[in-house]
Symmetry: C2
Subunit: 350 residues, 2 copies
């Protein structure tokens, strides 16, 4: 039986939510542990998770390898995989890539809406692509097994990350811009390049990424998912719900504003609607993930395709992505911009 | 065949030293990675080691579990286990115990010569024993599998650490004060309590810990080792050479002075001899560890005892110490000062 995996959540974590994960039969979740935090602040967030793991060992544990998904399923628990939505946590120090990977970080966005030291964000006017440090850090992420996530990055940066990375990358939470032209959604050009390179798209349930926003129906979402499977192939689409359950509006402000501006930046929101948008009534917590499986079946996906989208694809991607690169891949990474091509020649791109 | 393990070194690491480890057939070394450094500075030191592991994969790799000793032997490499000589690396934050253990820290001294937040050092006039935070941190170290090392601590603190810890502790590098009454050497009371609780003593080759200093002979050292085996039993003695190979004298000054004084503190040295003392002529680098094995045989230890002292005991101690505590042990640790007794009752004391 295929696992149930959510490719991104950032909830206001509590025992209640962990119990809902179990009620929903969720085997693994990629959780955001840091946005604009420095390394030391990120470690404090990890310490907070360590206390939850210690306190609720019968509900959750930290995932490090793809096999932890099966360990979770066998033990009736949920494996929690760490991710960063911005590279602030590595500061200006490439050595922190390996250190954070050792601490369990498995995804890192190269930028969050704005320009970072590594890449451009989707809200910048100009996207100059991967920076010098960005190319070095992608090679290091490839080496240790930290997944490049371009969910909040600009188009050119994303295409260059796909090209430069010797291993498939992810867009953990976004939808096709052809369905809903939000800045955070992705062009068909990006989605095709992503799937052709072996990467993964996690479909987002966040209302600003949905046609019709909070009023989007399960049917409309699943019809979009089915078209996405047609565009990208059934092996490259998963769920990345972007569930921000129980978060106060002060958090979405922090996500958008961090410490980079003294003004309010509304991001995907507006002065009229500055807070978290209400979730669609058919998706409020982890127990509702199963509804999506039913909806996908109704939208015409066959049983195997539904299993793949609901977790099988993430499971395969985890197994290809979380370990150290084969030596040939590491060499290819060192070779720089021809990395992907070199890795393909040597058969280590996956 | 029993492994060859050195229980403490702090060299000025280089390819030359790593190659000497291989020439000497050293399977594992506990290396000091931090003294007075903050957490962030300690992580920079780990990053430096990560670069060595990346650069010399055919010579060394980072050890995390006791089984890595056999992995090292099979692959003809040396497993490097991290340790801290002072708890500065956890700052005032107990959560960093688990974080540093995840990064591979396997030993931590509760104090280094001076009073720390956790315990008193052997150079303080008054030793008030474990502090409130010290007791909490020992319980947390017991829980995650980070070994309490009392090499530079005061007598009362050391006895209380032995008593309070639910798992055996170590004195990784010191000799009996009855043989050479240096401040850093340990009383028979401490050594007996250490061995009776299942702990380990690593015998030091550092000249200030040797009778006769740099002129101490191999025969005298091995005769002392044989008496130590008599006092503590053959299962509780190992080597902790305290080899500081190729270090400039500025380093021993940093070790003693850190940032706690503006004056020079000579520690075990003196104004006349402020630097590193010259090593005995029979112990200059990792290739000389084998001489000690020969010397122990000449001093009357049988073949099994020599194998135990040269690495077998550390190997067993690693397997008892580096993993998480059994749940019962964790509960006992939470019970505080009755920890050891409770753990003994439940048979989880290690």
């Amino acid at each position: 039986m295929s696992p149930l995996i959510d490719g991104l959540q950032y909830a206001n974590w509590s025992e209640r939510i962990f119990r809902q994960m179990r009620e929903g039969g969720v085997d693994a979740v990629h959780v955001t542990i840091t946005y604009h935090e420095t390394f030391r602040e990120t470690v404090l967030n990890i310490e907070r998770w360590n206390r939850w793991f210690e306190r609720f060992p019968e509900l959750i544990f930290q995932g490090f390898t793809a096999e932890d998904v099966e360990r979770a399923r066998r033990a009736g628990r949920t494996a929690i995989f760490f991710g960063a939505q911005n590279p602030s946590c590595i500061e200006d120090d490439i050595g922190l890539v390996e250190v954070l990977h050792r601490l369990g970080l498995r995804f890192m966005q190269l930028s969050y809406n704005n320009q970072s030291l590594l890449a451009s964000g989707c809200y910048e006017d100009t996207d100059a692509g991967l920076t010098r440090m960005g190319r070095e850090v992608v090679a290091e992420m490839n080496r240790v097994g930290l997944v490049v996530d371009m969910s909040h990055s600009g188009e050119r940066s994303t295409l260059e990350a796909i090209e430069h990375s010797t291993r498939p990358i992810a867009i953990t939470h976004a939808n096709p811009a052809s369905w809903h032209p939000a800045r955070r959604n992705k062009s068909d050009t990006v989605l095709r390049a992503l799937s052709e390179s072996g990467g993964m798209l996690g479909l987002s349930l966040y209302p600003h990424h949905l046609r019709g926003g909070s009023a989007c129906t399960l049917e409309a979402f699943c019809a979009m998912a089915a078209r996405c499977v047609e565009l990208m192939g059934p092996a490259h689409v998963g769920i990345g719900s972007d569930l921000c359950q129980d978060q106060p509006d002060s958090i979405v402000e922090w996500m958008r504003v961090g410490r980079w501006t003294k003004r309010i930046d509304y991001g995907e929101g507006s002065a009229d609607a500055p807070g978290f948008p209400p979730m669609p009534d058919w998706f409020g917590d982890n127990r509702d993930l199963r509804r999506i499986a039913e909806g996908l079946r109704a939208a015409g996906l066959d049983r195997d395709e539904v299993a793949a989208v609901m977790g099988g694809n993430w499971r395969r991607f985890f197994s290809e992505s979380f370990g150290p690169a084969a030596r040939a891949g590491a060499t290819a990474a060192a070779a720089g911009r021809d990395g992907r091509a070199a890795a393909r020649r040597e058969g280590t791109g996956g």
